[in-house]
Amino acid sequence: MNELLGTIDKPNVVESSCFLEGKEVTTSSFTKANRHYETVARQTFSYIFLNVGKHKSKHNEAHLEIGDKRLSGFLLKANRVLVCLSEKETNISDVRAHIQQVQHLIAKAEVERMLA
């Protein structure tokens, strides 16, 4: 899994990343200095996707700009969210494109995780 996060993190696009299961972090590459962002991400994305689910809405990504940073949450399946931390100036479409590129790796890891 950490290997996967290593692939997801990419200079100038994604600084740190983690996987959420509800409010819990399952794997993370957030550094100590960035821990607060991870906390914000946990609160934010669990709350948003819970709300989205309640309203039976089809939104599957959320972006939050806080200070100079942006947290992006991609809903992988119910309850499971991939979080990416980027600089505010990073183009969201770059982040999105990058995540799409590594999508198959994420999917593979998800399957492995289920089988484990």
Binding site: H36, H55, K58, H59, E65, I66
Partner: protein, 318 residues
């Protein structure tokens, strides 16, 4: 027949169309076309080419009133108006919406944009919407203008009131025409065009929504004030409304709890087959938007920034 011309300009929603309409003897040829975007369901009109009205002061004297368009993509009309239609205007009226966060920025912007034009004619700064937002007040305008080195008369007007707009016209014309019975013109205008404040309501909120609806791809908007106070909304879907309100509440909570990280500027949620929903915060107010999913997020951000006046220059043209 002696003909005079006056050119009106100012930011979107400053009251150009209203001012010209309030004193015009003809059905104003306000070439306000319905903006063609699908998005514009609510906002009635946006000046996209120019406003034009005519006012007869007596049988010998006629004033032609021209209004510049508000939208940036019609900026070429500014040149056309200043170099052709209104190249021989006696003066320019700059309408300044007092509810703008920094009305003086508008003045600097227009004084610069029309700098050459103003070298040869008088400028009147007509402050509108002061019934909604009384500050900055008259004295503040005088001192700011002095600092800016802008030579201008300042008048506080309600663009909907023909008497007020006639007063502005009188200020310009009476310098060259001494024989006009202004009281008579005033009475005649009130008879024809009337004036009532029945439709008065806090227009600031309405204009923000209207302005939002004029942005490409915007399908709905909601304006939230201090303390989660829902000021105005044209999003009817209860579910979307509640989702946006919840997200807004979340941004407040995070801004408060994690203030050391900086404020939450915005939250955007998107998906492959749904409208994009976003919340943009600006100190003590928030603008929520429902937009077409194909509008890119940088554009969306730019639009919201314009609307909340975070950006510096372009928001004058909205």
């Amino acid at each position: 027949m002696k003909d005079y011309k006056i050119l009106f300009t100012g930011s979107v929603c400053s009251g150009k169309t209203t001012a010209i309409r309030s004193v015009s003897d003809i059905e104003t040829l306000d070439t306000d076309a319905q903006a063609s975007d699908v998005t514009v369901r609510r906002k009635k009109n946006t000046t996209i080419v120019m406003d034009y009205g005519v006012l007869d002061l007596n049988t010998e004297t006629r004033v032609h009133l021209y209004g510049t368009p508000g939208q940036e993509r019609f900026r070429f009309m500014w040149d056309m108006l200043t170099s052709e239609f209104a190249h021989d205007a006696i003066g320019m009226v700059l309408l300044v919406d007092n509810t703008r966060k920094d009305p003086f920025r508008d003045i600097r912007f227009y004084a610069k944009a029309f700098g050459d034009y103003l070298r040869k004619r008088r400028l009147i700064i007509a402050v509108t919407h002061s019934d909604v937002e009384p500050n900055p007040d008259y004295n503040r305008y005088l001192s700011e203008l002095k600092d800016l080195g802008v030579m201008s008369t300042v008048m506080f007007v309600d663009a909907r009131d023909p008497r007020a707009i006639l007063g502005v016209i009188e200020e310009l014309i009476s310098a060259v025409e001494r024989d006009i019975d202004w009281d008579q013109v005033r009475d005649r205008l009130l008879d024809i065009n009337g004036f009532s404040l029945d439709f008065y309501k806090p227009l600031y909120e309405e204009t923000l929504l209207d302005a939002a609806m004029n942005k490409r791809g915007v399908l709905g908007a909601m304006h939230i004030g201090e303390g989660q106070d829902l000021l105005c909304s044209n999003i009817d879907d209860a579910s979307i409304k509640s989702l946006l309100l919840n997200i807004n509440r979340l941004t407040d909570a995070i801004s408060e709890k994690a203030s050391f990280l900086g404020a939450v500027n915005n939250v955007v949620i998107a998906g492959p087959k749904v409208d994009t929903l976003s919340v943009f915060n600006d100190q003590n107010q928030s603008l929520c938007l429902k937009s077409d999913k194909d509008i890119s997020l940088p554009v969306l951000k730019q639009q919201a920034g314009d609307l909340l006046q975070w950006s510096i220059d372009n928001d004058y043209l909205a």
